[in-house]
Subunit: 420 residues, 2 copies
């Protein structure tokens, strides 16, 4: 299955950009043409999930709402019309007289995407794979089995025989996953989309690179010179806009000077009013009389957070390095020097000044589609768009050059980008 | 040790570019000041290796030749003066009014480099690590033990106490390697520099990303429309310039039309004259009366190669995909269309037209220092320069923005690079 996906992907790569766009437009049309069938299968999944007594949040993620199919079809059309991501020339150098080197973007190869209940993820991922010239193996949640099967069928039937339907394989049984995770010579990247637990399990079980993040322990540090109204607005947004998101604030660090001025108390009251449960580090729990947190390395993923009082920006940075997950951290301060120190030193995928951690997201960062958020330092870091599905190839066009011990060749290494 | 390296690296990152350059200049001066001591230790290693009966090629790699120290010192000075690789702004976007996002280059963190006999590799790697703001753990070959120890001492004594000597750790016993390879939460990248066997062993033993290549099975395909003089020149260079190199040709594929025209015979004679042993695929071994190769997936690393006759460029590409190692492959042809087909379709790190595979190298590609050649598709592919030691961070500077369900914020996603 993985080998077929690679072979089909190689054929997909030989197509022109227009031909790949055409496949996407066909997929969009097919989705709309088969809307009734898709919704019927989705309803069957929803009914089965209700009968099985799944929780409401899962059922709501599973159900395709009215208008969902046409909005999905339209997002596929947007991808069809986006700038071609494959074959872009990233760098162009004259190596020596008559030999030109290009660094170009190229597909990674074969992706394995493991996702949970939302069936619309299948459409997004499959169309991103086609756009970026990659083969794909998909494993969806068992509660969306029928929805995934029909969406897979509709999509693959729009793939021309010159490429082959097996470009996108649907893995149906959970038992196949451990086998697939062993195929580090055929699968190039695994992208788990789901709970932290899913990501951790997959990372532990494979040598294939995994794009994702196990933890999102994001901090907001309020400096003594912060605008306290702004701080309040940002902290509330970072915690309450979507508490289950990986970019939600989990730990609030506050400069000790704000204890005296009462700034901290105001903020705490406001958080409590919004229903946020507070747990303190050793200092904050005694100053604020709140229960002590068990660990600073904790992701609540709910309306709760840890609070601690720190001496200054340096102590805050140390705390973040020691207890954080290098995902997203923000400082609130009016002092530019302190802000720049924080931005320069905090070793996280995204570091923000006077803005909510919730901005750390592919759509908000303007990356178009979001493939995932990576806390790995290798390949892609932070919110990842389509470039996370690409690698590079070096192409050189010469006119008979040989190295011959570098005796006669004169390297010019002229940067041709600058001259474009 | 790895944790200390990370802490020191974080302090190194807080220095200005000038301060990091200054460390490199101090290292260069220290190397020259301690030349006698270094050479004495190196001679002791060489004497011990001779006594232990090591082969000459190893001893020649081990011995530091006259002038080596000053040439090393000068290459460190070149790095000191290179453009700062850290903190470069790769992309700049206005997200919304008053909030600007930057994608910047940043150090990976902690590197583990495992290298074999050449002690000069230690100096190159250590200075690259300082230049790129990374912490480093080094494990050299035991035959270079004394040379490595003195070089490590000279280098670390030039690192200021504000950063800490433990920025660069020297691992002295082989037994520590398996323990280090388990530290995937502290070590960010492993770079093995040595034999294919070393690389394969390390890849098999760790979950940390490994930058390197286990095989270099490079192909040259001579199309029917090739300029045969050029083909001869390139094939000889690709095989004989440095047969042990990973970018040397291992398999020669020849278009079947060249059998009739006698082009193939000429080439074969020339290769044999230069002392290259030839092994054939099923077709070539019968046409040319040469012994049959055991496998097409074979790296000789010596004056020997496999030859096979193929129908056309498509069969050549299939052969390369099936049997190659996706390292470097070259086509010789005067037919531009055929060349472009080959360049577009061959899924290798470097693909060349009318040029020797030997060009696939960091120095020849103009990357400055070469960190290694990667056949992985993730992070860095092909010859890798200092950018292989870097990752990115997203930095956003706002003025109080919150997400609040994206209800009020107007995303502009204005590309500020284009306006620079």
């Amino acid at each position: 299955m993985a080998v077929s996906a690679r072979e089909c992907a190689r054929r997909l790569q030989t197509l022109s950009s227009q031909e790949r766009s055409k496949i996407l437009l066909d997929i969009a049309d097919a989705l709309e043409a088969k809307e009734e069938e898709i919704l019927a299968e989705n309803e069957a999944d929803v009914a089965a999930a209700q009968q099985a007594g799944y929780e409401n949040s899962l059922i709501s993620r599973l159900a395709m709402k009215p208008g969902k199919i046409s909005s999905l079809a339209n997002s596929v059309r947007v991808l069809a019309n986006m700038d071609e991501p494959v074959g872009r020339i990233l760098k162009r150098t004259e190596l020596a007289d008559g030999i030109i080197l290009e660094k170009t973007s190229s597909p990674l190869g074969v992706l394995l995407i493991i996702f949970e209940s939302r069936p619309d993820a299948l459409v997004q991922i499959a169309s991103l794979a086609v756009r970026s010239g990659n083969g794909l193996l998909l494993k969806g949640g068992k509660e969306a089995k029928r929805s995934n099967a029909i969406l897979h069928k509709v999509i693959t039937s729009s793939i021309p025989p010159t490429v082959g339907e097996r470009l996108i394989g649907l893995v149906t049984s959970r038992e196949e996953i451990p086998e697939l995770l062993k195929l580090d010579d055929v699968i190039d990247l695994v992208i788990p989309r789901g709970s932290n637990k899913l990501v951790s399990q997959i990372k532990a079980a494979t040598k294939i690179p995994v794009l994702g993040h196990a933890d999102g322990i994001c901090h907001v540090f309020i400096d003594k010179s912060a605008d306290l109204d702004m701080a309040k607005r940002i902290v509330l947004d970072a915690k309450t806009d979507y508490p289950a998101a990986c970019n939600a604030m989990e730990t609030l660090l506050v400069h000790e000077d704000l204890v005296q001025t009462g700034g901290l108390n105001d903020l705490i009251l406001e958080l409590q009013e919004k229903g946020v449960s507070l747990f303190g580090g050793p200092k904050a729990s005694s100053v604020l009389s709140i229960p002590e947190a068990n660990s600073f390395h904790h992701e609540y993923g709910a309306l709760a957070c840890t609070v601690e009082i720190v001496e200054d920006v340096n102590t805050a940075i140390e705390h973040i390095h020691r207890h954080g997950s290098a995902h997203t951290d923000s400082i609130i301060t009016e002092d530019k020097e302190v802000a720049e120190l924080f931005l320069r030193q905090v070793d996280s995928a995204a570091v923000l000044h006077n803005a909510s951690t919730r901005f750390s997201d592919g759509f908000r960062f303007g990356l178009g589609a979001e493939v995932g958020i990576s806390t790995s330092r290798i390949h892609a870091r932070g919110p990842v768009g389509v470039e996370g599905l690409l690698t590079t190839r070096w192409l050189a066009r010469g006119s008979g050059q040989v190295v011959d011990g570098d005796k006669e060749i004169v390297y010019t290494h002229r940067d041709l980008n600058l001259e474009a």
